[in-house]
Symmetry: C2
Subunit: 324 residues, 2 copies
């Protein structure tokens, strides 16, 4: 990775459009809101004039602009469809007040872009197939995930309880290895949980502890021998891989999608192709240097390099605008 | 109802935004698409320059503008959310080409209105609570529903198979009266159908014949003693009431919502408040003059009076625009 080039563009006003599924930053789960928050706070720290469009209960050092009180995943009285339309159109109705709109709102926000003059940058978190300006790795807030010299004895799973995330494969690894497994995260697929996770919970070797906030995550990392991330579909980024590595925890990840970009095989964890390879990898965990894990996140997946990479993208956009 | 005032505004270009759940006009079910189609064809017949935004397989004498090939309810490969965003934004991206956008797209289209200069008129088919310019009754295409001198012996139910439409109440009326009942329409609530309709089907007294197109509807009306419309929530309009009346069929309708505006009690049918009142009403069907039913629809719920009422609304909007 080349040394980041520092670009400062004074007096440019940026609107960051975060989703309204959860608060920004989210209380526990909410990957896109996390990234939108980290970009917002990182830009503010570097002197940008940023307005965050997010739920009204969001927490930010930027200007907050809100028309939706709470995340629709956190308040069942809020109609998600109505909230999305109101929230997305709001930023476009204020487009003239900004030099750039940085959207984290999937394809929906794209449908408004031709109606305004302000350039719109969309971070593609969940869909693909479009032409793009650059790949910018997500960055986590390192201050929230302090380095821990030593881990524990447990295997941990941290993420949405959903077949995509391979919780059942983590359970298999626990069974085959005999190691204790702690499972944390929101239950997104209840049928899957009831059928493929709950029957294996025994309150001793395999336990489910529910969703966890940042403090809960760090507590989990303190007890971890390794994070198991045996996703069954290509991962799009995998913030939890960076969070675990940041605290020094090695990651055993399925070699699908972004995992081989976030995890360096045999350096910050192991990339595997099966449950059996995951079990074998457990024997090599002592070869991983926890400091190397931390350093890699610092260098590649923290706020500073992310924000600097976005600043270069913004610069490109402003130049394109000047030439129009 | 006052004699319609004829207003002609030459050279005005109107965009009609129809939903893309179904083709416009729909093959069988699709109330909003039916009304959007009738307005479009009625305006064209009166010399307006109309562009219909609808699915590509739509049938119209207006200019057709389409980005979605087929209705998302008719083609499972189409993602409804993506289709809606693409379709709605398309009309707004072309807003400058029109003097008026007449939207039938619920609240979603409202979120684009402040981004364009063209005035947008929304027909509220399914939500309420907003300030409004006028109430315009929906109009059906009378040429599709010719008058029938005589009906038949059956009770008929025609509509979505859904608790809102009270199919189970129609079944009760059939049981209590001993009269045969024909049920037609798309099954929108499968659980409801399996639990509250199917157990009563006996292939003799009570039969379900599936969704019907216009020809199928007329066949049904030919066999009808009366249409039962025992809705359980306030009806928003009830096109089928007008369609039945147009062919001369009296309607027994629950006195909820628009029913008392569409049906004239004791003139074109009976307004009731219970299954028992519906059964009693059956004894008075001979008092209804089938010609009066037809005349009432002709006068109040056909394309001509609807389009003329919309022309008066358009006129008001153009005057508001001139004064801005």
């Amino acid at each position: 990775m080349p040394a980041p080039q520092i670009v400062t563009i004074p007096h440019k006003r940026v609107a960051v459009l975060s989703p309204v599924a959860w608060r920004t930053p989210p209380r526990h789960y909410g990957a896109w809101e996390t990234v939108a928050s980290n970009i917002t706070e990182g830009l503010v720290a570097r002197g940008w004039d940023v307005t965050l469009f997010a739920t009204r209960d969001s927490v930010t050092r930027a200007h907050l602009h809100a028309v939706i009180d709470r995340g629709y995943e956190e308040d069942p009285s809020i109609d998600p469809k109505v909230a999305e339309y109101l929230h997305i159109s709001e930023v476009f109705e204020h487009a003239a007040e900004f030099d750039l709109i940085h959207s984290h709102y999937d394809f929906m926000a794209l449908s408004y872009t031709l109606l305004v003059k302000t350039p719109v940058l969309t971070t593609i978190h969940g869909f693909s197939g479009m032409n793009y300006l650059a790949t910018v790795y997500n960055g986590i807030d390192l201050s929230l995930y302090p380095f821990q010299e030593r881990g524990g004895d447990h295997l941990i799973f941290l993420g949405r309880i959903h077949p995509d995330k391979g919780v059942h494969l983590a359970v298999e690894v626990a069974h085959l290895s005999g190691l204790p497994l702690l499972i944390a995260g929101i239950i997104q697929d209840e049928t899957y949980f009831l059928k493929h996770v709950q029957p294996h919970l025994d309150d001793r070797q395999i336990r489910y502890i529910g969703p966890v906030d940042v403090q809960g995550k760090n507590g989990l990392f303190a007890r971890a021998r390794a994070l198991l991330h045996l996703n069954t579909i290509p991962e799009r980024f995998g913030l939890v891989l960076a969070e675990a590595n940041a605290t020094g925890v090695p990651v055993i990840a399925m070699d699908l999608g972004s995992c081989r970009e976030v995890i360096q095989d045999e350096q910050t964890g192991f990339l595997v192709n099966s449950v059996h390879e995951a079990v074998s990898a457990l024997e090599h965990l002592s070869e991983i240097d926890r400091n190397v894990c931390r350093q890699r996140v610092q260098q590649c997946f923290s706020i500073e390099p992310m924000v600097q990479a976005y600043e270069r993208v913004y610069q490109t956009i402003f130049e394109m605008e000047r030439k129009r």
